[in-house]
């Protein structure tokens, strides 16, 4: 249908919160199908605000958002929310049903799936994040890392065009962090990942965007951006102590 269009196009997007705080000052970005892109930037840069526009939770004050060629508007919200899978930072916000199975089924069931097709979606999604064993457990019995993985499954089950994750590696122990990275690498969907974890961005995403004070301040290969100390310092970004960007992107 719209396979020629990029997964995501944002142009001149501006937004002010109802209390008057201007959070976005004109954001432009394009993400092609199949790309994995990191969205970096200091606290308060507007990353979460931008993410909330991608599936119409917030509506643009100015400018447009298009997902695979379809503009985000009140009358397209249903289709937009099918195409954009948002993984929230706190899995307890995302997992609200009494069992993992029901939680993963919630999205596709809202899309009208029932019966065998619904079961297949739930199984596939849980299998892809390695959580099929937990299918009948209540989410609050799972560890934090497991809950984060189930949260990813809840949106994968909707077979989204683009997966958007807000700080996926936060609060994960090193092993869970690595497991999640492997899952994300194994998926063949477009990924936009908000993160403060620069080595994680380098590992997972070839391309990065730096957001600062409500605009995209830099856009390029992650490797090149992270090697540019002046650029990082200008936007309050810092590599962890002892971390050096490898000479050649690997």
């Amino acid at each position: 249908m719209t396979s020629g269009s990029p997964s995501l196009t944002v142009s001149r997007l501006a937004y002010a919160y109802p209390d008057g705080t201007q959070a976005l000052y004109g954001v432009d970005l394009t993400i092609e199908r199949g790309e994995r892109v990191a969205l970096l930037g200091p606290n308060g840069a507007g990353k979460t605000t931008l993410v909330m526009h991608l599936n119409g939770i917030l509506t643009a004050g100015h400018g447009t958002v298009e997902v695979a060629g379809l503009a985000v508007r009140a009358d397209t919200l249903r289709e937009i929310r099918r195409r954009v899978g948002l993984v929230f930072q706190d899995p307890d916000d995302q997992l609200f049903m009494p069992t993992v199975r029901e939680d993963v089924a919630f999205g596709p069931a809202n899309l009208g799936l029932r019966g065998a097709e619904l079961d297949r979606r739930v199984h596939d999604a849980l299998e892809r994040v390695g959580m099929l064993d937990a299918i009948d457990r209540p989410p609050h019995h799972l560890s934090f890392g497991q809950r984060r993985r189930v949260a990813v499954a809840t949106v994968l089950a909707m077979e989204p065009e683009i997966l958007v994750l807000d700080e996926p590696s936060s609060n994960l122990d090193p092993a869970s962090r690595r497991e999640l990275a492997e899952i994300l690498k194994s998926l063949d969907v477009t990924v936009l990942m908000v993160t403060h974890d620069l080595p994680y961005a380098l590992e997972l995403c070839e391309r990065s965007l730096i957001m600062s004070e409500g605009v995209i301040a830099a856009d390029g290969p992650t490797h090149a951006l992270l090697a540019d100390e002046r650029l990082l310092a200008a936007h309050r970004l810092e590599l962890p102590y002892g971390f050096a960007v490898p000479a050649q992107p690997g």
Binding site: L86, F96, A109
Partner: protein, 254 residues
């Protein structure tokens, strides 16, 4: 993070009672309670029969008497109320152990105690054999207002999260030297309660956004199929039917 989840009242087991669809059990308990209430209080034997019916269910569900008795503390307020009635009641008075008690008051007390006890025990048996989650699905099946069922579903899901938040706030208070010794500390606790409310409220907002993101339009999709067969209804119906027969017999004998 969350401190383990348990519903101690539910006793997992695989018995015919456990296997019944929740909506059948719910309807059976409500109908049973209605027939018990409709039984005239003077027919003491009728209540004994009803108690026997419940005992039979308890045996079939393998719920030990001890577990039922422990859950019956919920009835204590009724008991206190019932004890007061013969003391303050009017009408013909009789002497018991040197106390002057009102005869109609005694009957009223018996009426409350017997009927409340039967209702409470039936509910305990329901809760002991039905997971809270299934109970809500059953309620939805019985066309209880969806909104109420949804609210209860969320309470069930977030109870642990909120309890955990409460526990963390208490630890934070105490690690900064707070000890709840007497009433003077009440303002601190009240403020914590307020903060807890706001945190829970904000959580609710975020959950709502997460639901919207996955296509929620105001109605929960029904995913689990818990349909009941005619046989299920017949089995569950035995309890209220026998209670109805008992009530009829009680009315027709004098």
């Amino acid at each position: 993070m969350s401190a383990g989840h348990h519903h101690p009242i539910y006793r997992p087991a695989d018995t015919p009672v456990h296997r019944l669809p929740p909506q059948c059990k719910l309807a059976a308990v409500v109908a049973f309670a209605v027939f018990v209430v409709a039984t005239p209080r003077e027919r003491v034997w009728a209540f004994a029969l009803d108690a026997l019916l419940l005992a039979a269910v308890a045996v079939a569900a393998r719920v030990p008497a001890g577990a039922i008795v422990r859950r019956m503390v919920i009835e204590v307020p009724f008991v206190l109320f019932a004890v007061a009635i013969p003391l303050i009641g009017t009408g013909e008075r009789i002497q018991v152990l040197g106390l002057s008690l009102s005869a109609p008051g005694l009957w009223a007390a018996w009426n409350i105690l017997a009927k409340a006890t039967l209702g409470v025990v039936a509910s305990i048996l329901l809760a002991a054999t039905t997971e809270p989650r299934m109970m809500l699905l059953g309620a939805e099946r019985l066309r209880l207002p969806r909104l109420l069922v949804q609210i209860a579903t969320f309470m069930l899901r977030y109870l642990d999260v909120i309890l955990d938040q409460m526990r963390r706030m208490r630890i934070a208070r105490e690690s900064r030297g707070f000890v709840a010794r007497d009433l003077r500390q009440a303002p601190v606790l009240a403020k914590s309660a307020g903060a807890l409310f706001i945190r829970s409220y904000e959580r609710g907002e975020r959950v709502h956004l997460a639901m919207l993101s996955r296509g929620y339009t105001g109605e929960m999709p029904t995913i689990r199929d818990i349909s009941a067969t005619g046989r299920d209804w017949a089995v569950a119906g035995m309890l209220p039917c026998l209670a109805a027969v008992t009530a009829l017999l009680a009315w027709s004998t004098t």
